[in-house]
Symmetry: C2
Subunit: 255 residues, 2 copies
């Protein structure tokens, strides 16, 4: 074993994979056995498994079985599992298909950010396992770059300083990832454990009876009593509330 998020692999190899760079590796490829799959097929198999059963299901063994090959065969396509995850992530990031530099987009900058939010959120819905993947030192793939470019571009003409523009994009992306990640995580756990959020809370009813101290948590009690936690579309409201507030906040310093 090495793994451990070490990033130990050759970055050039990883980048060549992410950008599907055919010219990078094979100097004289004419000889030898033909590969049975493309990298995209391998990645698609992994994504399919992760979609259905979460990141843990996308083990090298499971992915190989899904393709009908031996486990070690995967290592001819991908140098390690880390790179496979990078490829999985970038392929679903690319699904967001944001408008490029010259292409038409919503007129208002806020609508443009909302487009980023909606498509990112939809991506998390389709692929809840994304929430399980760390985006620290992210894979520098086309999907990630396109997303960053688009989000930056939505706010590029507001008159923010370059520093503030970067920070604003950072904050907006973080908030969206956070909110969409929570949603996705909840959905994932419901599917994986077969236990709804409601029954999860029910099984913890003793918490309120036995441990929750009302005098220590007056605000929680009050919010609860006033219906602040009622479930009417709570998730969607929370998602858009935070987004709208940070957009308000950004708007407030550009006027």
């Amino acid at each position: 074993m090495a793994m451990e998020h070490s990033g130990g692999g050759d970055p050039n190899r990883t980048l060549a994979l992410l950008w599907r760079d055919r010219d990078a590796e094979p100097p004289v490829p004419a000889r030898g056995r033909k590969p049975r799959f493309t990298i995209d097929e391998v990645v698609a198999a992994a994504v399919k498994l992760a979609d259905a059963e979460g990141m843990a299901a996308a083990s090298m063994h499971r992915v190989a079985k899904e393709l009908g090959v031996g486990t070690m065969t995967l290592y001819t396509y991908v140098p390690s599992k880390e790179e496979l995850i990078d490829l999985m992530l970038d392929v679903v990031l690319r699904e967001r298909a944001f408008p490029g530099p010259g292409e038409p987009r919503p007129g208002d900058w806020r609508d443009q950010v909302r487009l980023y939010a909606d498509r990112t959120r939809a991506m998390y819905r389709r692929h809840p396992w994304v929430q399980e993947v760390s985006m620290i030192r992210p894979s520098l793939g086309p999907g990630m770059m396109a997303g960053n470019e688009y989000l930056l571009s939505t706010m590029a003409n507001l008159g923010l300083s370059p520093r503030d523009l970067a920070a604003a994009a950072n904050a907006v992306a973080g908030l969206i990832e956070s909110a969409a990640g929570v949603e996705a995580g909840r959905a994932r756990l419901e599917r994986l454990t077969g236990e709804t959020e409601d029954t999860w809370w029910q099984r913890r009813s003793s918490f309120w009876e036995r441990y929750f101290d009302v005098t220590e948590h007056p605000t929680i009690v009050q919010v609860w009593n006033d219906g602040g936690y009622d479930a009417t579309d709570q998730s969607s409201c929370a998602f858009s509330f935070g987004l709208e507030r940070i957009l308000d906040g950004i708007a407030s310093i550009v006027d």
Copy 2:
């Protein structure tokens, strides 16, 4: 193996552990061998390992070795690793030591939120592994509840609807976790891999030369050229910029 985030354990047992409920379990505890440790000692050992080498180092085997006992001994203190993580998390959440209901706090609500942000950020600094722990369906421990209560209370008197108050606290907490998590993740990777952010980028210099398409990413290019990514305290600025903007945004709807 079971693990798998199944939440399969008995919630009542978990809650009793989290709240250090001595009355819950032992009906007639007078007989039998004496335990060598307290739960807190076990948790402290796990936290120590995770602080030094990340979550992966806090394996049952390593924690047991740290305590000088056999691996399986841990299971007399904790029903599974999941619960151990819950306990680790709550103990560091409690370290934030927010002022309780009656206790003195900064006058301005924004300063009160900043206190939440600063202490949470400091916690991530001390314990970077927190970033690796999922807070979906969180452990309902004292540390988590105290944090939620405090953050809610900071904005309770702004005139927000209960629904909006909950959403605002949610968004603020999400943003702070996101920003502090990125910081912590970066620091963790630097320590764990021995590779600084700079050399990580250096090793990927071929990205800019070979794959990055300038015409596809004009805004990134511009922000880069204008110094938007210059490293002067970038992290701290990004952290506070996002927080201040969302506070602005919240302020903008209460006046």
